[in-house]
Point group: D3
Chain length 241, copies 6
């Protein structure tokens, strides 16, 4: 028997809300809510670059990710108290950083760094993809702040980045898995696209059953539709900000 998704269609995103300028101190910030997943994404401009880039006239974008201890169903240990970030945390923040660097012309950004922080307030699946989708808007706000105040002469953004998860649950391909779906899925693919057209990052894992090229293609097509909708929303929120 196949899985029947409650409350929404298999190819439907959860309700997505992006609140721009959520934190007053950051150069760019949003609160992104994808269903019950809620994440604060901020962009902070740092006029210094990491040592390996000094004097090269190029910029950098990097990201950090964290979860509030009470964001998950059973409380997570606080990483600051444990004294280190988990492998999962590091993997996610490396993914966010790489994804956002893919839409920035580092020469045009100039010798400065943008620090992205994604802090999960509430977790219900898809936190890494929602982080990327939200962080892109925070990044765009921060970059337009620099265009407005004259620090940047030219826009270094080369496109729009958004991300979504897709997966097969009980034999059914689904868009935008929530936590119960993610926990019980056969396979799980995180997809990051540029302009909702081309792939920047794809990370697919067979949790239960290995999958074929054809199944992967179907999942990617499903994800691309979700990303197209997210890209439209990102632009609308940015224009309203």
């Amino acid at each position: 028997m196949t899985y029947q998704r409650p409350n929404r269609a298999a190819n439907q995103l959860r309700d997505v809300q992006i609140t721009p300028n959520f934190l007053p101190h950051a150069d760019g910030s949003v609160l992104i809510a994808c269903g019950n997943t809620k994440i604060i994404c901020t962009a902070t401009i740092d006029e210094a670059v990491p040592p390996f880039l000094r004097g090269k006239g190029e910029g950098w974008v990097t990201a950090e990710y964290g979860m509030l201890p009470a964001s998950t169903q059973s409380r997570m240990k606080r990483e600051a108290a444990a004294g280190k970030q988990s492998g999962r945390t590091q993997e996610i923040q490396r993914l966010i950083g790489r994804s956002l660097r893919a839409c920035v012309d580092m020469k045009k950004l100039g010798e400065r760094q943008i620090l992205i922080d994604c802090d999960v307030i509430q977790a219900d699946g898809g936190t890494r993809t929602a982080s990327i989708t939200g962080a892109f808007v925070a990044l765009k706000i921060a970059i337009h702040k620099m265009l407005a105040d004259g620090r940047l002469a030219e826009n270094p953004l080369t496109g729009s980045v958004a991300a979504v998860s897709v997966g097969v649950v009980g034999g059914v391909p689904l868009l935008d898995l929530d936590y119960p779906e993610d926990s019980g899925c056969d396979s799980d693919v995180n997809l990051v696209m540029l302009n909702a057209e081309k792939i920047i990052e794809i990370q697919g894992t067979a949790e239960g059953a290995a999958f074929s090229m054809a199944e992967l293609a179907e999942l990617i097509a499903l994800g691309q539709k979700g990303i197209a909708a997210l890209t439209v929303l990102q632009e609308k929120v940015f224009q309203a900000a």
Copy 2:
């Protein structure tokens, strides 16, 4: 020339809003906003106690505190990435834990632990006192959940705990300092009271000028009025939760 406080009286609290049940997974939770200071406080019930209490039939309340990197005016380093909590963080979380233990009868709580998390979303002074005021409501919600589901037969709460900062700025005693006031103050006192009547914790520091017993008494009286107002609000929020 003495300091003229903009927008509110010297003996006036900032606008305070406490939103109960802010996070669905925690046993008790609030978002507390004191002016531009915003903190998520949660209480998580853990049916195990720390090793030093095992088998003694008594409970425990402990707290952890953190700040989002973008919560402050210039971005703070993420403690999880730095690999340790700062001395300031540890001092604050020890204060929160001690303050809340002062209103709990550990025998009545029984052999279980309540973990308090206070995570600062936005910082504008007074984060440690707002954490205590908010965390008390989260704690009370969690305890009443256990009274409701029968895990607790008797209410272990022995009173109500709230906290506020007071200080002297430019010669003027002020209630509830914001960040600019706190940065430039002569002296700064954090006050935690039980039932707005008696002192549980007092931490006073002469930042600029040492102070006399009489000055301290004036600040405590000022703080007590603020705490009385916060205590009324805590009860109103709890009743509405």
Copy 3:
């Protein structure tokens, strides 16, 4: 002008040699050499499982990864001296562990753990995929040791796992990138397959240019051919061991 690969065809693997039983103390071990990339992979049987699995009657497979400081072109810092594993190391060892768990029936393995160690002696690109390919053989040797000595009644292996990298360099899709190719590639996909038929893990990153679904499909087809050849070699080495 397109990239001309020196010394081998675009769809050709580097010379691969797998030396079984390389270390006498491990339950299973190989030295795998893929061109100038050389890795010692070992499997150690531990009759205890991690805490989250105790008493469930199921086993576990987990992996650790390291590089000798002198394995890379410019000496890497020793992670043990630095006091922590890098994000890249953690990401790779999580990938190796997940990939190998995909071919093991944990109920049949029983309540024991197999620890995989992949230590890079010499690095010239493709260390994570070569680690997986080599570690599968070490794992198989260790499992057959338990089948031979009666600890296992039934073979818990559900198939064969191998991995390879594919990527686009100078516009040309290439199989099995070496380090210079990997450093300058447009896109880079690590592919892990079960029985050279279905995908267990796919991790694709656009380093230079985002890629389409069609380009991805071409790369996966290229990778599948390489994995088919590796799978044959793994079996031959195992039979000879």
Copy 4:
């Protein structure tokens, strides 16, 4: 029934001995013994300041605190072996540093740092207040060394700092609690004063019973008398040094 203090009056300090120049290598040093509490306090002049003060022409005073493992009744874990300082240690060393900075004119000190070390050899209550009282003498010796050798033209000390604990035990207000009294007290106040006149730091905690403003005033008055006696002793020891 009220508590009967053995061997000394409720308003009496323990025997206090301060041995100046206890360690030959430090710029200033004392051994302070308050009853069975014994602490080595040293001051080391460092001609560099921390990064946040470089180039500002101002100095700094900071403190570190430690306990020998065998200083306590049941052996404490060595913090160096544990790999981190406890929250209690950090709280105490922050208090010592803040207290001593309150009597130093940082402009007159000039761009140099004084490092205070307080190492507890034997602990019987009141280690943080004895550390402050002893460290002030070590600091004064170090400063007068710089006045003598011409590094300082003007004395940066603006007064004298000493500290004592007061508390209520079994209903009785007591001066200078020893360890058994401290363990069983209703409330515990650490008081740091400038010139035995004005308060620099006050940290009061209701361990058993919350206390009123009137009770706090009584404790502060009790503490002030103890601090007055300690201040006289500090000066006598300094003159003799």
Copy 5:
């Protein structure tokens, strides 16, 4: 020109004083002063053994070593603040532990552990050898406490352990080097003996010039005389304790 030792003969120990029962809380303790080197050595009985010895009916002796930051001529970093023990510290505490285990019959000690702490108050060369010499007395006091209270039926001590450094400075073999001699020596040998007769540990390093077997024999003979004198003193102090 050869080195002329000031104030004592080449084959003369510095003044040595061992004060027993220096700390009241430890099961055994001494303050040992060898010239200007001063170390507190304590022995704490722990009725539990480390995991690798549980249930074997055998005991263990282990040691920790530390230096007060102000013990050295230029202040050392506090290891607890740095977050780890240096390689030198670990090497020394391993040496102390091994040396003392050499005179204890672990079966007779029974399933308990003796923790040795050596904390250097003042350093002027030879801290590791003075630690061993002092710690042996502390250990003996702790063991005789257990013989007195009936926890031990039979004395597990199989002999007496003492240590000294010897070295060649400016061509002259010297006994018991102080810090200036140790810093400028050609070679440096730390010698630990049982009953002043046989070698338990020897650690010799050519700092300036490699040395022959004959030179080593001369240094060992010199050291043995010093150890004989220390062994007599240890016994005298123990008898008086």
Copy 6:
């Protein structure tokens, strides 16, 4: 009854093979096999010196040591995952560094550092001495590379360094202990010599029975013969490299 060594004479080394230029990226490298002990030793030239030597015109040689987790009979914990190097590791790498510095004229080396890495692939006793013997050849290769390319005008090597272990097992003095012999020995001496003539380092430990000066002399004579043979081999390998 005395111990009968299987397969080789008491005064015989294990088979030793040194393979030069084992890793292509290092400036100097060997694989050394002493029986079943196998270690990769590399030397990397770093044109910077540690801070304490900057601007002094002198060079430095330092060493790091590690073991593959599967190198030992029962798998060792990976130190990078544990987050720190053990005391044993630090002691060994300090010994290797000291031993090699004894044959280098630091003025002639000039202001650069040579980093030695010794990574144990397979452990069967004597890893620290084999590390020194192998690392000397790697160091010599690296130095001659600098002599060849003109970075060095004069050879800074002042001699040849090799090391071996000797010990007493079952009453019999033995050269070059393997792991079973080392585990059960009465005493164990690690000997490092310059030109097989003079002692650079000696570290002797009585594991079971304390030893006399005469016994030590016999062991050193035995070790010296082994070192003489190793020194000849080192030179032969270097000439062939």
